[in-house]
Amino acid sequence: MRALTWQGKHDVRVETVPDPEILNPRDVIIRITSTAICGSDLHLYDHTIPGMKDGDILGHEFMGEVVETGSSDHKLKVGERVVVPFVIACGGCFFCKKQQFAACDNSNPAETADASEIAYGYPMAAAFGYSHLTGGYAGGQAEYARVPFADVGPIVVPDGIDDDKVLFLSDILPTGWMAAVNCDIEPGDTVAVWGCGPVGLFAVQSALLLGAHRVIAIDHHPRRLQLARNLGAEIIDFEQVQVREALAEMTGGIGPDACIDAVGMESHGFTPDNLLDHVKVKTFMATDRVHALRQVILATRKGGRVSIPGVYGGVADKFPIGALMEKGLTIKSGQTHVQKFMPQLLQMILDDKLDTTFLISHRLDLEDAALGYKNFKEKQNEYTKVVLKPGSGIQTRH
Protein backbone atom coordinates (compact mmCIF):
# COMPACT_ATOMS: atom_id res chain seq x y z
CA MET A 1 0.00 0.00 0.00
CA ARG A 2 0.99 3.67 -0.12
CA ALA A 3 1.76 5.45 3.16
CA LEU A 4 3.32 8.64 4.45
CA THR A 5 6.56 7.69 6.19
CA TRP A 6 8.82 9.66 8.51
CA GLN A 7 12.44 9.81 7.36
CA GLY A 8 13.90 12.46 9.67
CA LYS A 9 13.43 16.10 10.50
CA HIS A 10 11.31 17.85 7.85
CA ASP A 11 11.55 14.75 5.67
CA VAL A 12 8.35 12.80 5.14
CA ARG A 13 7.66 10.74 2.02
CA VAL A 14 4.85 8.73 0.55
CA GLU A 15 6.22 5.27 -0.15
CA THR A 16 5.06 1.79 -0.98
CA VAL A 17 5.11 -0.33 2.19
CA PRO A 18 3.68 -3.73 3.16
CA ASP A 19 -0.05 -3.85 3.86
CA PRO A 20 -0.98 -4.15 7.54
CA GLU A 21 -2.13 -7.50 8.85
CA ILE A 22 -4.34 -8.68 11.69
CA LEU A 23 -2.01 -9.55 14.59
CA ASN A 24 -4.42 -9.94 17.51
CA PRO A 25 -7.98 -11.25 17.89
CA ARG A 26 -9.52 -7.85 18.60
CA ASP A 27 -7.86 -6.12 15.60
CA VAL A 28 -9.57 -4.91 12.48
CA ILE A 29 -8.09 -3.57 9.26
CA ILE A 30 -9.66 -0.51 7.73
CA ARG A 31 -9.36 0.97 4.27
CA ILE A 32 -8.81 4.65 4.87
CA THR A 33 -11.02 7.15 3.10
CA SER A 34 -9.94 10.36 4.88
CA THR A 35 -7.01 11.22 7.13
CA ALA A 36 -5.82 14.57 8.45
CA ILE A 37 -2.54 16.24 9.34
CA CYS A 38 -2.51 17.47 12.95
CA GLY A 39 -0.56 20.11 14.85
CA SER A 40 0.77 17.18 16.86
CA ASP A 41 2.24 15.71 13.65
CA LEU A 42 4.29 18.89 13.35
CA HIS A 43 6.11 17.99 16.58
CA LEU A 44 7.22 14.79 14.81
CA TYR A 45 7.93 16.67 11.58
CA ASP A 46 10.11 19.08 13.58
CA HIS A 47 11.51 16.11 15.49
CA THR A 48 10.87 17.59 18.91
CA ILE A 49 9.35 14.32 20.18
CA PRO A 50 11.88 11.47 20.61
CA GLY A 51 11.46 7.81 19.79
CA MET A 52 10.95 8.09 16.03
CA LYS A 53 12.40 5.55 13.62
CA ASP A 54 13.01 5.95 9.91
CA GLY A 55 10.07 4.58 7.97
CA ASP A 56 7.47 5.04 10.72
CA ILE A 57 4.03 5.60 9.23
CA LEU A 58 2.50 8.80 10.60
CA GLY A 59 -1.10 9.86 11.09
CA HIS A 60 -3.54 9.55 13.96
CA GLU A 61 -6.66 11.26 12.59
CA PHE A 62 -8.34 8.84 10.21
CA MET A 63 -11.50 7.07 9.21
CA GLY A 64 -12.55 4.49 6.69
CA GLU A 65 -14.25 1.24 5.97
CA VAL A 66 -13.73 -2.03 7.85
CA VAL A 67 -12.27 -4.57 5.41
CA GLU A 68 -11.15 -7.38 7.73
CA THR A 69 -11.81 -8.40 11.33
CA GLY A 70 -9.77 -10.48 13.77
CA SER A 71 -10.80 -13.81 15.26
CA SER A 72 -12.58 -12.49 18.34
CA ASP A 73 -16.31 -11.98 18.46
CA HIS A 74 -16.41 -8.60 16.77
CA LYS A 75 -19.03 -5.94 17.10
CA LEU A 76 -17.73 -4.29 13.92
CA LYS A 77 -18.67 -5.75 10.56
CA VAL A 78 -16.87 -5.65 7.26
CA GLY A 79 -18.20 -2.74 5.24
CA GLU A 80 -19.04 -0.49 8.19
CA ARG A 81 -17.69 3.05 8.16
CA VAL A 82 -15.80 4.03 11.28
CA VAL A 83 -13.90 6.97 12.73
CA VAL A 84 -10.88 5.81 14.73
CA PRO A 85 -9.80 7.58 17.96
CA PHE A 86 -6.11 8.50 18.03
CA VAL A 87 -5.76 7.03 21.52
CA ILE A 88 -5.52 3.23 21.58
CA ALA A 89 -7.32 1.89 24.65
CA CYS A 90 -8.21 -1.63 25.83
CA GLY A 91 -11.49 -0.89 27.56
CA GLY A 92 -10.78 -3.32 30.40
CA CYS A 93 -8.17 -1.77 32.70
CA PHE A 94 -8.76 0.43 35.75
CA PHE A 95 -8.21 3.59 33.70
CA CYS A 96 -10.44 2.61 30.79
CA LYS A 97 -13.20 1.68 33.25
CA LYS A 98 -12.90 5.23 34.62
CA GLN A 99 -13.13 6.49 31.03
CA GLN A 100 -9.59 7.83 31.28
CA PHE A 101 -8.83 6.17 27.98
CA ALA A 102 -5.68 8.19 27.30
CA ALA A 103 -4.25 6.58 30.43
CA CYS A 104 -4.94 2.99 29.32
CA ASP A 105 -2.53 0.60 31.01
CA ASN A 106 -2.48 -2.06 28.32
CA SER A 107 -2.31 -0.63 24.82
CA ASN A 108 1.36 0.28 24.88
CA PRO A 109 3.45 -2.87 24.27
CA ALA A 110 5.56 -3.93 27.26
CA GLU A 111 8.90 -2.84 25.79
CA THR A 112 7.89 0.64 24.65
CA ALA A 113 5.76 1.23 27.74
CA ASP A 114 8.95 0.74 29.72
CA ALA A 115 10.62 3.75 28.10
CA SER A 116 7.67 5.98 28.94
CA GLU A 117 7.59 4.70 32.51
CA ILE A 118 11.18 5.80 32.91
CA ALA A 119 10.36 9.22 31.47
CA TYR A 120 7.05 9.90 33.25
CA GLY A 121 6.90 7.62 36.28
CA TYR A 122 4.16 5.38 34.85
CA PRO A 123 3.78 3.79 31.44
CA MET A 124 1.82 5.82 28.88
CA ALA A 125 -1.04 4.60 26.72
CA ALA A 126 -0.49 4.03 23.01
CA ALA A 127 -1.47 6.21 20.08
CA PHE A 128 -1.41 5.73 16.33
CA GLY A 129 1.54 7.02 14.35
CA TYR A 130 3.09 8.80 17.26
CA SER A 131 6.62 7.62 18.06
CA HIS A 132 7.79 4.53 19.87
CA LEU A 133 7.20 6.12 23.27
CA THR A 134 3.49 5.63 22.67
CA GLY A 135 3.80 2.18 21.20
CA GLY A 136 5.21 2.56 17.71
CA TYR A 137 1.88 1.69 16.08
CA ALA A 138 1.70 2.42 12.36
CA GLY A 139 -0.46 5.46 11.67
CA GLY A 140 -3.31 6.28 9.37
CA GLN A 141 -1.85 8.55 6.72
CA ALA A 142 -1.97 5.50 4.51
CA GLU A 143 -4.31 3.43 2.41
CA TYR A 144 -4.91 0.87 5.17
CA ALA A 145 -4.37 0.65 8.92
CA ARG A 146 -4.50 -2.02 11.58
CA VAL A 147 -6.73 -0.93 14.46
CA PRO A 148 -6.20 -2.82 17.76
CA PHE A 149 -8.99 -3.11 20.38
CA ALA A 150 -11.40 -2.24 17.61
CA ASP A 151 -14.34 -3.21 19.82
CA VAL A 152 -13.55 -0.25 22.08
CA GLY A 153 -12.26 2.55 19.90
CA PRO A 154 -13.79 3.08 16.48
CA ILE A 155 -17.24 4.61 16.26
CA VAL A 156 -19.60 3.62 13.46
CA VAL A 157 -20.94 6.52 11.42
CA PRO A 158 -24.07 6.32 9.30
CA ASP A 159 -23.76 5.91 5.55
CA GLY A 160 -24.54 9.05 3.70
CA ILE A 161 -22.81 11.46 6.06
CA ASP A 162 -19.79 13.09 4.50
CA ASP A 163 -16.32 12.11 5.80
CA ASP A 164 -15.46 15.77 6.29
CA LYS A 165 -18.25 16.17 8.84
CA VAL A 166 -17.10 13.37 11.15
CA LEU A 167 -13.37 12.88 10.55
CA PHE A 168 -12.37 15.24 13.37
CA LEU A 169 -14.05 13.02 15.94
CA SER A 170 -10.74 11.15 15.78
CA ASP A 171 -8.88 13.83 17.72
CA ILE A 172 -9.18 17.60 17.46
CA LEU A 173 -12.93 17.92 18.03
CA PRO A 174 -12.92 15.89 21.28
CA THR A 175 -9.64 17.62 22.16
CA GLY A 176 -11.17 21.08 21.85
CA TRP A 177 -14.25 19.82 23.69
CA MET A 178 -12.27 18.29 26.58
CA ALA A 179 -10.19 21.46 26.79
CA ALA A 180 -13.41 23.39 27.38
CA VAL A 181 -14.86 20.75 29.73
CA ASN A 182 -11.66 21.04 31.76
CA CYS A 183 -12.42 24.75 32.25
CA ASP A 184 -15.42 23.88 34.46
CA ILE A 185 -17.28 26.77 32.87
CA GLU A 186 -19.77 28.62 35.05
CA PRO A 187 -22.44 31.11 33.97
CA GLY A 188 -20.93 34.52 33.28
CA ASP A 189 -17.44 33.13 32.66
CA THR A 190 -14.97 34.54 30.20
CA VAL A 191 -12.71 31.91 28.63
CA ALA A 192 -9.48 32.93 26.87
CA VAL A 193 -7.98 30.56 24.28
CA TRP A 194 -4.34 30.77 23.18
CA GLY A 195 -3.86 29.42 19.65
CA CYS A 196 -6.41 29.42 16.83
CA GLY A 197 -5.21 26.25 15.20
CA PRO A 198 -7.68 23.39 14.86
CA VAL A 199 -7.56 22.60 18.58
CA GLY A 200 -7.96 26.22 19.65
CA LEU A 201 -10.83 26.82 17.22
CA PHE A 202 -12.71 23.75 18.42
CA ALA A 203 -12.02 24.86 22.00
CA VAL A 204 -13.59 28.24 21.18
CA GLN A 205 -16.63 26.54 19.69
CA SER A 206 -16.92 24.10 22.60
CA ALA A 207 -16.54 26.75 25.30
CA LEU A 208 -19.43 28.68 23.77
CA LEU A 209 -21.55 25.52 23.51
CA LEU A 210 -20.74 24.73 27.15
CA GLY A 211 -22.11 28.07 28.25
CA ALA A 212 -19.20 30.50 28.36
CA HIS A 213 -20.44 34.09 28.51
CA ARG A 214 -17.55 35.30 26.38
CA VAL A 215 -14.61 33.71 24.60
CA ILE A 216 -11.47 35.63 23.69
CA ALA A 217 -9.16 33.99 21.15
CA ILE A 218 -5.46 34.81 20.71
CA ASP A 219 -3.24 34.15 17.68
CA HIS A 220 -1.41 36.13 15.03
CA HIS A 221 -2.68 34.64 11.79
CA PRO A 222 -5.47 36.85 10.43
CA ARG A 223 -7.34 34.01 8.75
CA ARG A 224 -7.27 31.83 11.83
CA LEU A 225 -8.38 34.77 14.00
CA GLN A 226 -11.19 35.45 11.55
CA LEU A 227 -12.40 31.85 11.90
CA ALA A 228 -12.48 32.34 15.68
CA ARG A 229 -14.47 35.52 15.25
CA ASN A 230 -16.89 33.71 12.93
CA LEU A 231 -17.52 31.23 15.75
CA GLY A 232 -18.43 34.08 18.09
CA ALA A 233 -15.15 34.87 19.83
CA GLU A 234 -13.56 38.25 20.41
CA ILE A 235 -10.00 38.21 19.14
CA ILE A 236 -6.52 39.44 20.06
CA ASP A 237 -3.58 39.52 17.66
CA PHE A 238 -0.59 38.94 19.90
CA GLU A 239 1.76 40.62 17.47
CA GLN A 240 -0.05 43.91 17.81
CA VAL A 241 -1.38 43.80 21.34
CA GLN A 242 0.01 43.21 24.84
CA VAL A 243 -2.00 40.13 25.59
CA ARG A 244 -2.10 40.19 29.38
CA GLU A 245 -2.99 43.86 29.58
CA ALA A 246 -5.62 43.42 26.88
CA LEU A 247 -7.25 40.51 28.71
CA ALA A 248 -7.32 42.41 32.00
CA GLU A 249 -8.86 45.45 30.33
CA MET A 250 -11.41 43.37 28.42
CA THR A 251 -12.57 41.62 31.62
CA GLY A 252 -13.02 44.65 33.85
CA GLY A 253 -9.68 44.13 35.55
CA ILE A 254 -10.70 40.70 36.91
CA GLY A 255 -9.05 38.54 34.25
CA PRO A 256 -10.38 35.55 32.34
CA ASP A 257 -12.01 32.94 34.58
CA ALA A 258 -10.49 30.12 32.60
CA CYS A 259 -7.64 29.98 30.09
CA ILE A 260 -6.82 27.33 27.51
CA ASP A 261 -3.32 26.70 26.15
CA ALA A 262 -3.96 25.32 22.66
CA VAL A 263 -0.44 26.17 21.51
CA GLY A 264 1.81 23.57 23.13
CA MET A 265 5.52 23.31 22.79
CA GLU A 266 7.11 24.79 19.76
CA SER A 267 10.22 23.90 17.91
CA HIS A 268 12.48 23.67 20.94
CA GLY A 269 11.66 20.57 22.85
CA PHE A 270 13.50 17.41 23.44
CA THR A 271 16.93 17.11 22.03
CA PRO A 272 16.17 15.08 18.97
CA ASP A 273 17.66 11.81 20.04
CA ASN A 274 16.17 8.57 21.02
CA LEU A 275 14.77 8.67 24.53
CA LEU A 276 16.53 5.50 25.52
CA ASP A 277 19.84 7.19 24.86
CA HIS A 278 18.75 10.06 27.03
CA VAL A 279 17.80 7.71 29.78
CA LYS A 280 21.22 6.15 29.60
CA VAL A 281 22.94 9.42 30.25
CA LYS A 282 20.28 10.52 32.71
CA THR A 283 19.81 13.84 31.02
CA PHE A 284 16.87 12.85 28.95
CA MET A 285 14.87 15.99 29.02
CA ALA A 286 15.70 19.29 27.51
CA THR A 287 13.51 22.27 28.10
CA ASP A 288 10.17 22.67 26.37
CA ARG A 289 9.31 26.14 25.21
CA VAL A 290 6.50 27.31 27.43
CA HIS A 291 6.08 30.90 26.35
CA ALA A 292 2.33 30.72 25.82
CA LEU A 293 1.75 28.68 28.97
CA ARG A 294 3.64 31.21 31.08
CA GLN A 295 1.41 33.94 29.71
CA VAL A 296 -1.68 31.80 30.32
CA ILE A 297 -0.83 31.36 33.99
CA LEU A 298 -0.14 35.04 34.53
CA ALA A 299 -3.32 36.10 32.73
CA THR A 300 -5.77 33.78 34.52
CA ARG A 301 -7.78 35.46 37.27
CA LYS A 302 -7.19 34.61 40.93
CA GLY A 303 -8.83 31.30 41.75
CA GLY A 304 -9.30 30.58 38.05
CA ARG A 305 -8.83 27.48 35.91
CA VAL A 306 -6.13 26.59 33.40
CA SER A 307 -6.69 23.91 30.77
CA ILE A 308 -3.75 22.60 28.75
CA PRO A 309 -4.56 20.55 25.66
CA GLY A 310 -1.34 21.81 24.04
CA VAL A 311 1.30 19.09 24.00
CA TYR A 312 4.47 19.18 26.11
CA GLY A 313 6.93 16.34 26.43
CA GLY A 314 9.79 17.33 28.69
CA VAL A 315 10.48 19.78 31.49
CA ALA A 316 9.94 23.51 31.67
CA ASP A 317 12.29 26.29 32.53
CA LYS A 318 11.12 29.39 34.45
CA PHE A 319 7.69 27.98 35.05
CA PRO A 320 5.69 30.53 37.10
CA ILE A 321 4.99 28.23 40.01
CA GLY A 322 4.57 31.22 42.33
CA ALA A 323 1.73 32.70 40.29
CA LEU A 324 0.11 29.30 40.11
CA MET A 325 0.20 28.74 43.87
CA GLU A 326 -0.39 32.25 45.13
CA LYS A 327 -3.38 32.82 42.84
CA GLY A 328 -4.83 29.41 43.70
CA LEU A 329 -5.19 28.18 40.14
CA THR A 330 -6.53 24.79 39.12
CA ILE A 331 -4.79 23.07 36.20
CA LYS A 332 -6.19 20.28 34.08
CA SER A 333 -4.36 18.78 31.15
CA GLY A 334 -3.75 15.61 29.22
CA GLN A 335 -4.06 13.70 26.01
CA THR A 336 -7.73 13.50 25.16
CA HIS A 337 -9.96 10.67 26.37
CA VAL A 338 -11.33 10.54 22.84
CA GLN A 339 -13.48 7.43 23.28
CA LYS A 340 -15.35 9.10 26.14
CA PHE A 341 -16.53 12.07 24.07
CA MET A 342 -17.08 10.55 20.62
CA PRO A 343 -20.70 9.38 20.98
CA GLN A 344 -22.08 12.67 22.28
CA LEU A 345 -20.12 14.71 19.74
CA LEU A 346 -21.22 12.47 16.87
CA GLN A 347 -24.81 12.98 17.98
CA MET A 348 -24.33 16.76 18.02
CA ILE A 349 -22.95 16.59 14.47
CA LEU A 350 -25.87 14.45 13.29
CA ASP A 351 -28.26 16.92 14.95
CA ASP A 352 -26.53 19.81 13.12
CA LYS A 353 -25.56 21.40 16.43
CA LEU A 354 -21.89 21.27 15.54
CA ASP A 355 -20.15 22.00 12.26
CA THR A 356 -16.53 21.03 11.82
CA THR A 357 -16.08 21.48 8.09
CA PHE A 358 -15.39 25.23 8.37
CA LEU A 359 -11.90 24.29 9.45
CA ILE A 360 -10.80 22.45 6.30
CA SER A 361 -8.74 24.66 4.00
CA HIS A 362 -7.18 21.99 1.78
CA ARG A 363 -8.04 18.54 0.51
CA LEU A 364 -5.14 16.69 -1.07
CA ASP A 365 -4.51 13.23 -2.39
CA LEU A 366 -2.40 11.10 -0.04
CA GLU A 367 0.34 11.25 -2.69
CA ASP A 368 0.71 14.99 -1.91
CA ALA A 369 0.97 14.48 1.87
CA ALA A 370 4.54 15.81 2.05
CA LEU A 371 3.40 19.06 0.48
CA GLY A 372 0.56 19.15 2.99
CA TYR A 373 3.03 18.91 5.88
CA LYS A 374 5.27 21.61 4.49
CA ASN A 375 2.45 24.06 3.94
CA PHE A 376 0.60 23.29 7.18
CA LYS A 377 3.83 24.21 8.93
CA GLU A 378 5.01 27.13 6.83
CA LYS A 379 1.76 28.72 5.64
CA GLN A 380 -0.30 28.48 8.81
CA ASN A 381 -2.49 31.39 7.86
CA GLU A 382 -3.88 29.78 4.72
CA TYR A 383 -3.52 26.13 5.74
CA THR A 384 -5.88 25.77 8.69
CA LYS A 385 -6.44 22.04 8.21
CA VAL A 386 -5.31 19.56 5.59
CA VAL A 387 -7.35 16.45 4.85
CA LEU A 388 -5.75 13.70 2.78
CA LYS A 389 -7.87 11.46 0.60
CA PRO A 390 -6.06 8.24 -0.39
CA GLY A 391 -6.69 7.20 -3.96
CA SER A 392 -8.81 10.25 -4.73
CA GLY A 393 -6.68 11.45 -7.60
CA ILE A 394 -7.16 15.07 -6.48
CA GLN A 395 -4.68 17.15 -8.49
CA THR A 396 -2.64 19.73 -6.65
CA ARG A 397 -0.50 22.31 -8.38
CA HIS A 398 3.01 22.17 -6.93
Binding site: P25, R26, S72, G92, C93, F94, N106, A110, A126, A138
Partner: protein, 190 residues
Protein backbone atom coordinates in the same frame (compact mmCIF):
# COMPACT_ATOMS: atom_id res chain seq x y z
CA UNK B 1 27.98 -11.23 50.38
CA UNK B 2 27.75 -10.13 53.99
CA UNK B 3 24.74 -8.04 54.67
CA UNK B 4 25.09 -4.76 56.46
CA UNK B 5 23.14 -4.63 59.66
CA UNK B 6 20.55 -1.94 59.75
CA UNK B 7 17.91 -0.80 62.20
CA UNK B 8 14.51 -2.47 62.11
CA UNK B 9 12.52 -0.89 59.32
CA UNK B 10 9.68 1.39 60.30
CA UNK B 11 8.31 1.95 56.76
CA UNK B 12 5.12 0.14 55.76
CA UNK B 13 6.35 -0.40 52.19
CA UNK B 14 7.42 -3.84 50.94
CA UNK B 15 10.96 -5.07 51.56
CA UNK B 16 11.74 -4.93 47.84
CA UNK B 17 11.55 -1.12 47.96
CA UNK B 18 14.27 -0.91 50.62
CA UNK B 19 17.53 0.70 49.55
CA UNK B 20 19.30 -2.49 50.57
CA UNK B 21 16.60 -5.16 50.32
CA UNK B 22 17.01 -8.45 52.15
CA UNK B 23 15.39 -11.57 50.64
CA UNK B 24 14.98 -13.20 54.06
CA UNK B 25 13.09 -10.18 55.34
CA UNK B 26 10.83 -10.50 52.30
CA UNK B 27 9.90 -13.96 53.53
CA UNK B 28 11.68 -15.83 50.75
CA UNK B 29 13.40 -19.06 51.59
CA UNK B 30 16.43 -17.74 49.87
CA UNK B 31 19.69 -19.62 50.13
CA UNK B 32 22.74 -17.89 51.60
CA UNK B 33 23.92 -16.46 48.33
CA UNK B 34 20.63 -15.34 46.83
CA UNK B 35 21.12 -11.80 47.83
CA UNK B 36 19.45 -9.76 45.12
CA UNK B 37 15.79 -9.02 45.62
CA UNK B 38 13.33 -7.51 43.19
CA UNK B 39 9.64 -6.91 43.60
CA UNK B 40 6.90 -5.51 41.47
CA UNK B 41 3.19 -4.99 42.04
CA UNK B 42 0.47 -4.52 39.44
CA UNK B 43 -3.28 -4.25 39.82
CA UNK B 44 -5.21 -6.49 37.46
CA UNK B 45 -8.89 -5.94 36.91
CA UNK B 46 -9.82 -9.65 37.20
CA UNK B 47 -10.69 -11.93 40.15
CA UNK B 48 -7.77 -13.35 42.17
CA UNK B 49 -8.92 -16.93 41.65
CA UNK B 50 -8.82 -16.60 37.85
CA UNK B 51 -5.33 -15.08 37.92
CA UNK B 52 -4.04 -17.68 40.33
CA UNK B 53 -5.39 -20.53 38.23
CA UNK B 54 -3.89 -19.20 35.04
CA UNK B 55 -0.51 -18.83 36.70
CA UNK B 56 -0.67 -22.14 38.53
CA UNK B 57 -0.85 -23.92 35.18
CA UNK B 58 2.83 -23.30 34.60
CA UNK B 59 2.53 -24.17 30.92
CA UNK B 60 0.87 -20.76 30.50
CA UNK B 61 3.88 -18.79 31.69
CA UNK B 62 5.79 -18.81 28.37
CA UNK B 63 2.80 -17.01 26.82
CA UNK B 64 3.86 -13.81 28.54
CA UNK B 65 7.38 -14.44 29.85
CA UNK B 66 9.66 -13.42 27.07
CA UNK B 67 12.82 -15.31 28.01
CA UNK B 68 11.29 -18.69 28.63
CA UNK B 69 11.77 -21.32 26.00
CA UNK B 70 9.75 -24.01 27.71
CA UNK B 71 8.42 -25.20 31.04
CA UNK B 72 7.83 -28.91 31.49
CA UNK B 73 5.66 -29.95 34.38
CA UNK B 74 7.18 -33.02 36.07
CA UNK B 75 4.69 -33.52 38.89
CA UNK B 76 2.44 -31.45 41.14
CA UNK B 77 5.39 -29.62 42.69
CA UNK B 78 8.26 -30.03 40.30
CA UNK B 79 8.85 -28.43 36.90
CA UNK B 80 11.74 -28.09 34.47
CA UNK B 81 12.57 -24.62 33.12
CA UNK B 82 14.47 -23.82 29.95
CA UNK B 83 15.38 -20.18 29.54
CA UNK B 84 16.85 -18.45 26.51
CA UNK B 85 20.41 -17.22 26.68
CA UNK B 86 22.49 -15.16 24.31
CA UNK B 87 23.68 -16.64 21.01
CA UNK B 88 21.24 -19.55 20.84
CA UNK B 89 22.31 -20.87 24.22
CA UNK B 90 19.95 -21.70 27.02
CA UNK B 91 20.07 -22.47 30.71
CA UNK B 92 17.94 -25.07 32.45
CA UNK B 93 16.95 -25.88 35.98
CA UNK B 94 14.36 -27.71 38.03
CA UNK B 95 12.02 -25.61 40.08
CA UNK B 96 10.08 -26.71 43.13
CA UNK B 97 6.82 -25.24 44.36
CA UNK B 98 7.37 -24.68 48.08
CA UNK B 99 4.06 -23.13 48.98
CA UNK B 100 0.72 -23.14 47.22
CA UNK B 101 -2.39 -21.47 48.60
CA UNK B 102 -5.12 -21.67 45.97
CA UNK B 103 -6.36 -18.25 44.92
CA UNK B 104 -3.69 -16.49 46.96
CA UNK B 105 -0.07 -17.46 46.57
CA UNK B 106 2.50 -19.60 44.80
CA UNK B 107 6.11 -19.76 46.00
CA UNK B 108 8.96 -21.60 44.33
CA UNK B 109 12.63 -22.36 44.69
CA UNK B 110 15.20 -23.71 42.24
CA UNK B 111 16.47 -27.20 42.96
CA UNK B 112 19.92 -27.54 44.48
CA UNK B 113 22.90 -27.32 42.19
CA UNK B 114 21.50 -24.96 39.59
CA UNK B 115 23.82 -22.40 38.09
CA UNK B 116 21.35 -19.62 38.71
CA UNK B 117 19.84 -20.15 42.17
CA UNK B 118 16.53 -18.38 42.46
CA UNK B 119 13.40 -18.33 44.53
CA UNK B 120 10.25 -16.33 44.31
CA UNK B 121 6.67 -15.80 45.14
CA UNK B 122 3.63 -14.52 43.35
CA UNK B 123 0.76 -13.25 45.47
CA UNK B 124 -2.80 -12.49 44.46
CA UNK B 125 -4.70 -10.29 46.88
CA UNK B 126 -8.24 -9.01 46.21
CA UNK B 127 -7.96 -5.24 46.31
CA UNK B 128 -9.84 -3.69 49.22
CA UNK B 129 -11.04 -0.80 47.07
CA UNK B 130 -12.75 -2.67 44.27
CA UNK B 131 -10.01 -2.50 41.69
CA UNK B 132 -9.58 -6.17 41.03
CA UNK B 133 -6.52 -8.05 42.25
CA UNK B 134 -3.23 -6.71 43.53
CA UNK B 135 -0.54 -9.00 42.15
CA UNK B 136 2.93 -8.92 43.65
CA UNK B 137 5.91 -10.81 42.29
CA UNK B 138 8.95 -11.08 44.51
CA UNK B 139 12.10 -12.78 43.26
CA UNK B 140 15.42 -13.43 44.94
CA UNK B 141 18.38 -14.63 42.92
CA UNK B 142 22.11 -14.92 42.91
CA UNK B 143 23.84 -13.03 40.16
CA UNK B 144 26.11 -15.69 38.67
CA UNK B 145 29.88 -15.31 38.62
CA UNK B 146 32.53 -16.44 36.14
CA UNK B 147 32.16 -17.10 32.44
CA UNK B 148 28.59 -18.26 32.69
CA UNK B 149 27.92 -15.23 34.80
CA UNK B 150 29.25 -12.98 32.13
CA UNK B 151 27.15 -14.68 29.54
CA UNK B 152 24.06 -14.28 31.63
CA UNK B 153 24.85 -10.91 33.04
CA UNK B 154 22.51 -9.33 30.55
CA UNK B 155 19.63 -11.51 31.60
CA UNK B 156 20.14 -12.10 35.26
CA UNK B 157 22.17 -9.26 36.55
CA UNK B 158 21.32 -6.09 34.82
CA UNK B 159 17.94 -6.91 33.38
CA UNK B 160 15.87 -9.10 35.70
CA UNK B 161 14.07 -6.11 37.10
CA UNK B 162 13.14 -4.87 33.64
CA UNK B 163 12.27 -8.39 32.56
CA UNK B 164 9.97 -8.90 35.54
CA UNK B 165 8.31 -5.58 34.93
CA UNK B 166 7.66 -6.39 31.27
CA UNK B 167 6.53 -9.94 31.97
CA UNK B 168 4.04 -8.73 34.56
CA UNK B 169 2.81 -6.08 32.16
CA UNK B 170 2.19 -8.74 29.51
CA UNK B 171 0.46 -10.95 32.09
CA UNK B 172 -1.83 -8.03 32.93
CA UNK B 173 -2.53 -7.34 29.24
CA UNK B 174 -3.39 -10.97 28.61
CA UNK B 175 -5.69 -11.19 31.63
CA UNK B 176 -7.43 -7.85 31.12
CA UNK B 177 -7.69 -7.75 27.33
CA UNK B 178 -7.32 -11.36 26.21
CA UNK B 179 -4.29 -10.54 24.12
CA UNK B 180 -0.75 -9.17 24.33
CA UNK B 181 -0.37 -5.73 22.84
CA UNK B 182 1.97 -5.47 19.89
CA UNK B 183 2.81 -2.92 17.27
CA UNK B 184 5.07 -5.29 15.37
CA UNK B 185 5.35 -4.06 11.81
CA UNK B 186 4.69 -6.39 8.93
CA UNK B 187 7.94 -8.05 7.90
CA UNK B 188 9.28 -6.85 4.59
CA UNK B 189 10.37 -9.89 2.62
CA UNK B 190 13.00 -9.27 -0.01
Amino acid sequence: MARRTRPDPISDSPESTAKDPNPAAAGLMASEDEDTLIGRTVTINRPARELYEFWRDLRNLPLFMENIESITVIDARRSHWKVKGPADSSVEWDSLITEDIPGELIAWESAEGTSVPNSGRIEFRASDNGRGTVVTATIAYDPPAGALGKMFAKMFQREPKIQARRDLRRFKQLMETGEISTSAPVEVFP
